[in-house]
């Protein structure tokens, strides 16, 4: 089929302005803010010193939030131009280190050999286009109660490395959308000890495709960790009873009879407290099964 109606080179189409053009379109409904894109961590930290400055990872959650005018930063400091914060590498001790500004798609591809369960988790976040922008640092810092990464970080017993300190995952998450991060503190990398076996089992919330319940099970030489996302009103948490049972015997049957108290579970359009509590058990069993 020939495109007779188009100009000789269809790529020239944008030279033909339509009517009187508006300066900006409907998508730009956010409050006004300045934008900076430093190329070093030091410059980013300096830029974030400004009043009401906010870090911008991939923006996949932040930009929709800004469109709703739920935040009014004075300046967004993009972390996407900081080369030292991007990439995946395996250190000498075997730990997997992921730069804070590394998109999910890169983790899904590059960690597939070194830490397949974590790579699989990254490959289940959002959708392909979101995974090309969204970053681990942004996800972990935001600590959405239904996000996938917090389960992987907590389940792996990872260490969150910021520009000022290193924080163990067990100490990092402080409930829904809350972490120990200070104003202006940047997650520069996350360091994952690689378990003997692990699996992330995600049950989709059908609309958002976040986790209705997601369970990350990691089996290390010194014990099993079970982290649950999507389920609790307190955000990601470790299911210690399951860990204890699995430490005795790492088999799905070891979880038989174990259940989680529905009282603190999230209840919404997509599932009751009891349903979420039930799914935690089912997804944990499936994660164990997949880790065998």
């Amino acid at each position: 089929m020939r495109l007779g109606a188009l100009p000789p080179d269809p790529r020239d189409i944008y030279s033909q302005m339509k009517g009187g053009s508006a300066p900006f379109g409907k998508e730009d409904e956010m409050y006004s803010f300045d934008f900076e894109k430093p190329s070093s961590i030091a410059d980013a930290v300096a830029a974030l010193g400004a009043e009401d400055a906010q870090a911008l990872g991939g923006g996949q959650t932040l930009i929709p939030t800004l469109k709703q005018r739920l935040a009014a930063p004075s300046v967004l400091v993009s972390l996407s131009g900081i080369a030292e914060m991007r990439g995946v590498c395996v250190e000498d001790d075997g730990a997997l280190v992921i730069g804070g500004a590394t998109p999910h798609a890169i983790v899904a591809a590059e960690a597939a050999g070194s830490y397949p369960a974590l790579a699989a988790l990254a490959g289940q976040i959002g959708d392909p286009a979101v995974r090309n922008r969204g970053t681990i640092g942004g996800s972990v810092a935001n600590n959405d109660p239904a996000a996938c990464y917090p389960a992987g970080v907590l389940g792996s017993g990872a260490t969150i490395v910021t520009n000022t300190r290193q924080v163990a995952a067990d100490d990092f998450f402080e409930g829904m959308f809350a972490t120990v991060l200070e104003e202006g503190e940047i997650i520069t990398s996350v360091r994952f000890p690689v378990p003997q076996a692990a699996s992330y089992q995600k049950f989709l919330q059908p609309a958002s495709r976040f986790a209705l319940v997601g369970v990350y099970v990691a089996r290390f030489a010194d014990g099993v960790r079970v982290a649950v996302t999507g389920a609790s009103e307190d955000g990601v948490f470790r299911w210690t009873e399951a860990e204890a049972a699995l430490n005795k015997e790492f088999r799905p049957d070891a979880l038989t009879g174990l259940s989680i108290n529905p009282a603190n579970m999230i209840a919404d359009l997509h599932g009751s407290k009891a349903y979420r509590a039930h799914l935690v058990s089912v997804m944990t069993k499936r994660a164990v099964m997949a880790s065998l």
């Binding site: 089929m1 495109l3 109606a5 188009l6 269809p10 189409i13 339509k18 009517g19 009187g20 053009s21 508006a22 300066p23 900006f24 379109g25 409907k26 730009d28 409904e29 006004s32 469109k67 709703q68 005018r69 049950f203 059908p206 609309a207 958002s208 919404d268 359009l269 997509h270 599932g271 009751s272 009891a274 349903y275 039930h278 799914l279 089912v282």
Partner: protein
């Protein structure tokens, strides 16, 4: 052999080229020199009284052109309702005012209170935040049954209650109905909900109003399925403008599904404000705004009772439905639970006694109106669910029970006001049984069970009524519009043809399918025929596209106009061939004299029409004809659907493993497009059945206010569908013998899915009678563990 052009050919869509290359022209792509932007300040509460509204600070904000409130629209008409329903006592429905901007009260989350026009949208939105608004919050009425109670909070203070109408169709003698049920060998009763939906065409609504001071002319660009209807309603009922001074253009429209039929306040506002501000005014809905300002769909709560005799013949059917209309009457909202719903309650069955009762409620929610199927999905869902439940209760095969009760003689007068002209329900069911390989189901179930999954098979039938007409009858039923359509066939001198049609194409492929008809009638190449639609300045008139009516109604007008053109062309040809007009035949673009080798080509005749040197004196030059077509009856597409699901008993997750549709659409012009229409309808039906749920909390806050909570079907939620439309009983009363195919999939699929889920649950040993849509994993799990 499939044809390669003309009627019956799967011609590739010509409109695709522009859409595939980014060269479409959607309303938001239109920017008019000097345009300003409007941002609507909308209510964030469901029900309240405006006690203070001060816009002075907003007016002083940078870039603000003007701030409008309800005061600016005092004396201007409100949004009209196009169908007056008469209740069962003979009284007209209660019809509250529906202002463009709130007058004293807000009645749903999203109700527009003020509108800020500014140089940029950001400035308009900034200024809207500076409006000083005080609202006294009132208790909200959300639940329909609560709304009906004596003493319920009134949505409209000037109405006597929240009941728009209490309507009945079919058997009016309650005693007779009671007698049938009392004498029944078996009665199956079912309470069910038809879940509230949001149509969500992928293109949000947009309106651009323009006013030319020099000529006192208005242009409205809008995302509409029916620009003439918008012009008529806006001019005659809302703004009081002369129709000839108003042009309404609906360019490329990114899907409608009913929700772009209606005349919306934003359209009237942009038209009004363009003059008031002396600048073009543009509004583009965000998706979040769409959730609280596009008319919603469905939202019925029903009880249905089916009476059977000892031989399992259906002897009586009674339904009681509460229908939610939302806070105001949207354009055709009143007709949906009544004439588009009650009339279909007989379904495919020869039930002799049918009584339909519908009470329609005002609540503090977004207005509810037609969404793909509009009333017919609600009727089909009730009927096909209760038949399925009856089969389970009686321990009989659900297909056999249906076949036993099928209507087999046509025409058939139903007890609910319709006359089905034609159909072959057994033949269509035969097609389904073959296409869906029902014989192989047991083996497939065993394979699922071996994986620890439950498998279910759901069957249902549907009948629908399309091309609602004729105008004199619908007028008696309360329609405030005619339901004909129009087409002008303009033959150019060189023989190419422009056809101006009143139907609007927003995905249906009219630009391809309509030319197939005209080209076929004349015997010329399809590429010589072009369809013009969507612009009131180019098209004589049209009622637009909805109710699967375009080809059956507008297409028939096009056929009539083309016949007139051919008749005139034959006169010219007869003159050129020096023969009698009666002897002229038209075939393959050649006029010939019967029984001779004398002929003249289409293009020579058309050229002669415009260069009438050698021309019959009694014939006018030119070759252009217009026809209006008012159908004699509805058309009645019907079908039988089968759905196979797999159910994970641990999580309640349901996956659609197979879906097969056997439809009878009568004659088919473009099979490829018809398949696509069925696919899309099934996709939406599966969405309703498994995923979609527009929910409010008890305070009237919309819980599913974005795609984060309103689950749209995605590619991995659905399978490839099997589609068979080889069962064809042509419509008896339109020239093409076509019935309409746009809504069938959405009508026929929800009960198939739910029947399949219940079959799966019951096969797992869990006796479950019913589960409400959407059949979410949590609901399935709860039902299986109750």
């Amino acid at each position: 052999m499939p044809k390669d052009s003309g009627i019956g050919a799967s011609s590739k869509r010509r409109e695709d080229v522009r859409f595939l290359t980014g060269a479409g022209n959607y309303t938001d792509d239109i920017n008019v020199a000097g345009q300003a932007y409007v941002y609507f300040l909308r209510s964030d509460i469901a029900h309240g009284r405006i006690t203070g509204l001060d816009t002075s600070a907003a007016e002083a904000m940078p870039g603000v052109v003007k701030v409008f409130t309800g005061k600016d629209f005092e004396g201007v008409g409100g949004m009209p309702c196009g169908w007056e329903v008469t209740d069962k006592h003979g009284a007209p429905m209660q019809e509250p005012a529906h202002p463009i901007l709130a007058q004293g009260k807000v009645r749903h989350v999203g109700d527009p209170i003020a509108a800020v026009v500014a140089d940029s949208l950001e400035q308009a939105r900034d200024a809207a935040e500076a409006i000083d608004l005080e609202i006294e919050e009132l208790p909200a009425v959300i639940d329909m049954k609560a709304a009906a109670q004596e003493g319920a909070v009134l949505v409209h203070d000037d109405l006597k209650n929240n009941i728009c109408y209490d309507w009945q169709l079919g058997e009016t003698d309650d005693a007779k109905v009671n007698e049938v049920f009392a004498g029944a060998a078996h009665v199956t009763t079912l309470d069910l909900v038809n879940n509230r939906l949001v149509a969500n065409p992928m293109e949000p609504r947009v309106a651009v109003g323009e006013y030319k001071r020099g000529t006192d002319e208005y242009t409205l660009y809008t995302t509409s399925q029916n620009p003439h209807v918008i012009r008529l309603l806006m001019c005659a009922f809302v703004l009081g403008l002369p129709e000839h001074k108003v042009r309404v253009v609906a360019p490329d429209v990114g899907g409608g599904f009913g929700t772009k039929i209606f005349h919306y306040a934003e359209e009237a506002f942009c038209t009004f404000a363009a003059k008031a501000c002396n600048r073009p005014v543009k509004w583009t809905s965000s998706r979040s705004e769409a959730f609280m300002s596009d008319a919603h769909g469905r939202d019925h709560v029903s009880t249905i009772e089916l009476a059977l005799d000892a031989d399992n013949n259906f002897i009586g059917l009674r339904t009681n439905t509460y229908a939610n209309l939302g806070a105001y009457l949207s354009t055709f909202s009143s007709s949906v639970p009544t004439w588009l719903h009650g009339t279909l309650m007989a379904g495919n069955y020869k039930t002799p006694v049918v009584q339909v009762n519908v009470r329609a409620m005002f609540t503090n929610t977004v207005p509810v109106d037609a969404y793909r199927g509009a009333g017919r999905p609600e009727a089909t869902f009730q009927l096909e669910r209760v038949v399925d439940k009856a089969a389970r209760e009686l321990g009989v095969d659900p297909i056999a029970l249906r076949r036993q009760n099928f209507i087999t003689q046509f025409p058939y007068d139903t007890p609910v006001a319709l006359t089905y002209d034609t159909g072959d329900y057994n033949g269509t069911m035969d097609k389904l049984e073959a296409a869906a390989d029902l014989a192989g189901f047991a083996a497939r179930r065993a394979a699922s069970e071996a994986k620890g999954k439950l498998r279910g098979l759901g069957i249902n039938c549907y009948i629908e009524a399309c091309g609602i007409a004729p105008s004199n009858i619908v007028g008696m039923l309360g329609a405030r519009a005619g339901l004909y359509d129009a087409a002008t066939v303009r033959v150019n001198a060189t023989g190419s043809i422009s056809v101006m049609v009143g139907a609007h194409s927003h995905g249906q492929g009219h630009e391809t399918a309509f030319p197939q008809v005209v080209a076929d009638m004349i015997g010329i190449d399809e590429s010589m025929v072009e369809i013009v639609h969507g612009d009131t300045s180019k098209i004589p008139f049209g009622m637009g596209t909805y109710g699967s009516r375009s080809l059956a109604v507008c297409g028939s007008a096009m056929v009539k106009a083309t016949e007139k053109v051919i008749d005139k062309a034959k006169k010219i040809a007869a003159h050129l061939l020096e023969a009698s007009e009666a002897d002229i035949e038209l075939k393959d673009g050649q006029f010939s004299v019967a029984g001779t080798d004398k002929s003249v080509a289409w293009g020579d005749v058309t050229l002669t029409a415009y260069v009438p040197h050698n021309f019959p004196l009694e014939v006018e030059p030119g070759l252009e004809e217009t026809a209006f077509y008012d159908p004699a009856n509805f058309t009645f597409p019907s079908g039988a659907y089968a759905c196979e699901v797999e159910l994970d008993p641990e999580t309640g997750q349901v996956t659609i493993e197979a879906f097969t549709a056997a439809d009878d659409f009568g004659n088919i012009v473009n099979p490829m497009i018809v398949d696509g229409q069925v696919h899309g309808g099934i996709g939406q039906g599966i969405g309703q059945a498994l995923l979609e749920n527009c929910a409010y909390d008890e305070n009237g806050q919309l819980l599913s206010a974005s795609f984060m909570d309103y689950a749209m079907p995605r590619a991995d939620d659905v399978p490839f569908y099997g589609v068979d439309h080889s069962s064809q009983t042509p419509c008896t009363h339109n020239p093409l013998g076509v019935k309409g195919c746009g809504e069938a999939g959405a009508i026929g699929s929800p009960p198939a899915v739910v029947n399949a889920v219940l079959d799966a649950m019951n096969s797992g040993g869990k006796a479950v009678d019913h589960i409400d849509m959407p059949v979410s994993p949590s609901r399935v799990w709860a039902a299986m563990n109750s």
